[in-house]
Amino acid sequence: MSEQAVTVEAFHHHDEEGTRLGFWLFLFTELLLFGAFFIVYGVYRSAHLNDFKIAAESLNTGIGTTNTIILLASSLTVVLSLNAMRAGRVKLAKTMLLITMALGTTFLIIKGFEWNAKFAHDLYLQTSGAIAAGKGSPLLTPGPEMLPNGQVLFYGLYFIMTGTHALHIIIGAVWMGIVYYWIAKGSINPENVGVLERCALYWHLVDVIWIFLFPLYYLVA
């Protein structure tokens, strides 16, 4: 081949709508990913209805409701941030973005306290200190110190599903921080809101998932 190789500027193709459509497709993959969790939850709930109810009683509906409202409020602020940016009010957009991040962090802190309370009651994944110590031997004979199967499954799913959700909140909040920095730098501006828009879409999706997680864990008791 020719020795005089030349590098050419990356092919620029501005298609805001196409990019957004692509981002929606990505959001569907997130939806289907949680979908698998929801299927597992649905199957085990139908099999262990009473255990699921008993276990769900140990979750605090008040905390769950508070967190739902916090997340909904953060959805509001992020949409306001986007609208403000579109209307050219950069400062307002930045403020709203900061509030969103703060609300996300509050959500995580409350979630952390909630988890901590469960750990204190030994409701660690395996649900019992005695059993937790025997980890690595998954075929231990069930004994009296162990919770019924249905409750074990409930707590396992609770920790994994809310944990995965919290991970998404963290990713969203970090992304928002980066977006904030870009707004401050000016690379995101009223003429170029694409990244802010996608960040907001992601945040809303995380909210949508919580909208389903909330009744399934806090309201089924």
């Binding site: 025997g134 690595g136 031997s137 075929l139 231990l140 004979t141 069930p142 199967n149």
Partner: protein
């Protein structure tokens, strides 16, 4: 191996009818497709036919080859369903033989308590429906008798969940292969035994002869019975031969080097050690062996009976 053109069990004819029906229809289409390709290659070769037509399609033909396959596959479905319904509906008067599968053994438990292991095989009377509940405590196995067209996975289930089942009715005397058909680890290919089909009188005589000895031994030496029925001999010999695991012969009281969590230490085989090894097999591995033993759910009494028998073998 018994490969019978007229398979020796009750619903096998249905399976084979569906099989050969699909096979002939498939063969017809395969011959047609291949023949047409070869015909075209010769007739419409570029040399023979340098100017192609500009044929885009033909709606009538398209409709034909949508409808014809639809009808055929619905027939395939119907014939498959027929056999399946027979497979899943166990006759009321069926005799129950419990099947347990483990890594890498079979155990068959008769209504009177008689147990048969992999070496002995499954002995059944002819012309009698046999109902087989399938139980596993470790991993998924699959109970497969090719000659009878019988197969069902042996799936470990949660407490309270129903075990899988299957049934068959042998219509011919003889020995037939019984395989494990689901990959279950190292000795998957050794999880093979035989089904012995006897006439009814022969079966009754066999049952009486076997049961008397077995039940007596079980009462006298529960440990040995357990070791046999739990399949321990698949990996642990009683004569000093080194198999997958250490031999039981001379084991008790022996000094061994074991690996615990990556560190080697020297121990003496005592009751406490044996108990740990049975309940948590991955914990202390005797040097030179692989951590392969599956934990088997057992009561404390059963564990003690086994330890007692290992002591006997060591004397």
């Amino acid at each position: 191996m018994n490969v019978n053109y007229n398979p020796p069990s009750v619903f096998a004819q249905d399976v084979d009818f569906a099989f050969w029906f699909i096979a002939y229809v498939s063969l017809f289409f395969l011959v047609f497709i291949t023949g047409f390709i070869i015909f075209s290659i010769i007739k419409y070769n570029r040399k023979n036919n340098p100017v192609p037509s500009n044929l885009h399609g033909n709606t009538g033909l398209e409709i034909v080859w949508t409808i014809v396959p639809t009808i055929l596959v619905m027939l395939f479905f119907y014939f498959g369903l027929q056999g399946f319904l027979k497979m899943r509906n166990v006759p009321k008067d069926a005799m129950e033989i419990k099947v347990d599968a483990g890594m890498w053994w079979w155990k068959f438990t008769y209504p009177n308590g008689l147990e048969q292991n992999t070496a002995q095989g499954l002995t059944v009377p002819a012309d009698t429906p046999i109902y087989l509940p399938l139980h596993s405590d470790d991993v998924v196995h699959s109970f497969y008798i090719p000659a009878f067209r019988v197969k069902m996975d042996v799936v470990p289930k949660a407490a309270g969940a129903e075990d899988n089942y299957t049934w068959f009715e042998a219509s011919q005397i003889g020995d037939f292969d019984l395989f494990c058909a689901e990959y279950c680890g190292l000795n998957h290919a050794q999880m093979i035994t035989k089904v012995h089909v006897l006439t009814k009188p022969d079966y009754l005589a066999w049952l009486e002869e076997q049961s008397a000895g077995f039940l007596k031994q079980k009462a006298e030496n529960p440990g040995q019975a357990l070791i046999t029925s739990k399949g321990c001999f698949a990996c642990h010999s009683s004569d000093g031969t080194k198999l997958i695991g250490p031999s039981f012969k001379g084991l008790f009281g022996k000094t061994e080097i074991v690996v615990t969590g990556g560190e080697e230490r020297e121990i003496t085989v005592d009751e406490a050690y044996l108990k740990t090894s049975i309940m948590e097999p991955g914990k202390d591995i005797v040097k030179g062996f692989q951590p392969l033993m599956p934990p088997l759910p057992m009561t404390a009494d059963e564990v003690m009976a086994i330890i007692d028998h290992i002591k006997e073998l060591s004397e």
